[in-house]
């Protein structure tokens, strides 16, 4: 689950990580009042959307007069913001954060992630703050410092010293202390809230020596939501694709993509491989849909409905290798869904594994029209045929 900047900053504030003074607004009427509450000028107006690349897309503006704040807010609220992460339609800005401007001496980068290879949390720190960290890692790897955290001891002061005293030039003693303080608290936030990522870019040292998180990016481990219930209210469904929202409700792994071949598969790996097969057949998948191992008839029905709701879909490929999910369950679900929905596109079905004969029988006996693929290669060929047919039409 992704948090908004303002939500992450609220958490930071409560956790001893200094952030700029700020006010969240969701209508432009509130903009003028915000300039009265928040110290300034200057003020910084920041669109609250999950997508990255906001700055270059006009989602962050500096204002020197209250009227500039109002103008900036009006240019964002309710408008789509198109960044390199949103796709061409962009994402609508519903909330804007107005913050005090700070006198910045130095911009740094700080984040915490799980190091998968070492199976421990790792803190990443760089003096190249405010930049795209992937680019820094590629071009100047020596500027990226990394501390692995031993989980039995937790974050130790020496971890902080290894990072802070790795800066060149060294920060002032006050700033050094401030940095170590932020690091220790960042680790606490990370483990206490089951984060999968916390990123502060830039983390700034102000002219008066304070260390402040100017930006904040935070994701929570979806698997840990059962014990982070108080974070559930921070979820912003407006940021999500409506079909993905619907899928989430039924515990389906659905991701909308840009193509026109709908796919329903059991198992994430096979679903990815099926997308790849579609692509190799010269078509583009319209979605990733893993109905999972424990899918029941209702989930299959819902998955089918979700695929059909996507008007771009020109053909559907069902690829099921029955293991825990039995082929007869799948078949019944498809038939049930077909009964409720008008299937306006060709359906290609490839069934294999547990109870495959029963499944084929159920499909055959229904009045559903579909093409049978005996294996994946055949399925790919059939998809390609359908696509070329469609294109001819």
């Amino acid at each position: 689950m992704k948090l908004h900047e303002y939500q992450a900053k609220d958490i930071f504030r409560k956790s001893g990580i200094p952030v700029p003074l700020g006010e969240l607004i969701s209508s432009s009427d509130q903009a003028t009042r915000a300039t009265q509450i928040i110290p300034g000028p200057p003020w910084v107006v920041k669109a609250q959307v999950h997508a990255g690349g906001r700055g270059k897309a006009g989602g962050v503006k500096v204002a020197h007069y209250p009227y500039e704040v109002v103008t900036a807010v009006e240019s964002m609220l309710g408008k789509p913001l198109i960044t390199r992460q949103t796709g061409p339609a962009g994402v609508t800005v519903n909330q804007v954060l107005i913050e005090e401007g700070l006198e910045i001496e130095r911009e740094l980068y700080l984040s915490m992630v799980i190091d998968r290879a070492e199976s421990v949390p790792a803190m990443i720190f760089s003096q190249a703050g405010g930049m795209d960290i992937e680019e820094v890692a590629a071009k100047s790897p020596h500027l990226i410092l990394k501390e692995h955290v031993d989980t039995s001891s937790g974050w130790m002061p020496y971890n902080g010293r290894n990072l802070v005293y790795g800066l060149n030039p060294l920060p002032s003693p006050t700033a050094a202390k401030g940095l170590m303080h932020v690091m220790a608290n960042l680790y606490k936030v990370f483990v206490t809230l089951d984060c999968s990522l916390v990123e502060i870019n830039p983390l700034v040292i102000t002219k008066d020596g304070r260390v402040i998180a100017l930006d904040a990016k935070m994701s929570i481990d979806d698997n840990a939501m059962f014990r982070q219930k108080e974070l559930l209210s921070l979820d912003d469904p407006r940021e999500k694709d409506p079909l993905e929202q619907m899928a989430e409700k039924y515990n389906l792994n659905y991701i909308r993509l840009d193509g026109n071949i709908g796919a329903m598969v059991n198992g994430a790996g096979l679903a990815m491989a099926t997308m790849d097969v579609i692509k190799m057949a010269g078509a583009e998948p319209a979605n990733f849909l893993d109905v999972g191992g424990g899918a029941n008839e209702e989930m299959i029905t819902k998955g089918f409905e979700i695929i059909l709701k996507d008007r771009r879909v020109k053909a559907i490929l069902i690829n099921i290798f029955g293991g825990i999910l039995r082929c007869d369950v799948l078949a019944r679900g498809v038939v049930a869904a077909a009964g409720r929905t008008n299937i306006r596109v060709p359906l290609i079905v490839r069934l294999e594994g547990t109870n495959v004969e029963d499944g084929r029988e159920i499909l055959k006996k229904s009045d559903l029209k579909f093409l049978v693929a005996r294996d994946l290669s055949e399925a790919a060929e059939l998809v390609a045929q359908q696509v070329s047919k469609t294109e001819r039409i």
Partner: protein, 295 residues
């Protein structure tokens, strides 16, 4: 000999009385796996399909000589179950559970460091040594005893591959699903080492996917130290970055984990990379040769 699991393995099922645990225990028994005990805290003394249920894994080890454990415990309690098994002296732990928080796995991995237990999973189909025993949720009948080792981060994708292998006449020594989570108990390399030392195994199929760098590390290892033929397949070539592709571990993030990087690393290591999943079985037959096809 297969690796890790054979017909002598004495298996305990943690969570034997749960829905999933009960269903798959029956399947495993049907396959011929030696299930010697079950664990459901508070239900000690009961029986399930003729198997005694205990309150603790320790009791299963002491009273039934269990040495392998299969875990069907819900995510909030799964890390506890893994540690329980390891501390009780179980040498091979297979955790099927999907959805364990990453930080729980961080703790588990620190815990396991000082013990010599092998953990397979979590979020995996398990392990099968065809003709000997299966511990997990894979459909038994698609497998056939033979000389190919299979290691995979995926479940159904593995079934697909195994099915193709069996259809072209290539049986399997042992098939292992290492799991689709960001942190899993054992890696491609851990099991490649075992396949290297296993006389039955003549070649290995490695099924990777986007996310992490496990395939790149495996490529390095194979290039330096592995002397049997390997065919690799990587799922997720068309996956967009930043989206979690079903598996918690299948996500391209921070510029890492792209399928293309993995494929290139594997190719650089001289490994046959199969691009078209549909014809993997045929490729395997060509690469592994006819010799391998005879068990």
């Amino acid at each position: 000999m297969s690796i890790l699991l054979n017909s002598e393995s004495r298996v305990v099922i943690q969570g034997i009385t749960g829905r999933e645990g009960a269903f798959h225990t029956r399947q495993m028994i049907a396959y011929g796996t030696k299930i010697v005990a079950g664990v459901t805290p508070g239900k000690g003394g009961q029986e399930f399909e003729g198997i005694t249920v205990f309150n603790t894994v320790r009791a299963c080890v002491q009273e039934k000589g269990a040495d392998v454990s299969c875990i069907f415990v819900p995510p909030p309690f799964a890390s506890d179950a893994i540690m329980e098994a390891a501390s009780a002296g179980i040498r091979l732990i297979i955790c099927i559970t999907e959805g364990i928080p990453v930080l729980d796995m961080v703790k588990v991995m620190a815990f396991l460091k000082d013990l010599d237990a092998v953990l397979i999973g979590p979020n995996c189909p398990g392990i099968i040594s065809p003709g000997k025993a299966k511990v997990g949720i894979m459909p038994g009948p698609i497998h056939r005893e033979g000389n190919i080792g299979v290691i995979s981060r995926s479940g159904t994708l593995t079934y697909e591959v195994v099915d193709q292998l069996t259809r072209v006449g290539l049986g399997q020594s042992t098939c292992i699903g290492i799991g689709g989570d960001p942190i899993v108990g054992s890696s491609f390399i851990d099991h490649l080492k075992r396949f290297r030392d296993d006389k039955q195994t003549k070649g290995v199929i490695l099924i990777g996917e986007i996310g992490g760098t496990a395939e790149e590390e495996a490529a390095e290892y194979i290039k330096a130290e592995f002397n049997k033929p390997v065919i690799a397949f990587i799922a997720g070539q068309t996956a967009p970055p930043g989206r979690r592709m079903g598996h918690a571990g299948a996500i391209i993030s921070g510029g890492q984990g792209k399928a293309q990087d993995k494929i290139e690393a594997l190719k650089r290591a001289g490994i046959t990379v199969q691009m078209n999943l549909g014809t993997l079985g045929r490729t395997a037959l060509e690469v592994m040769g006819q010799d391998t096809a005879r068990p």
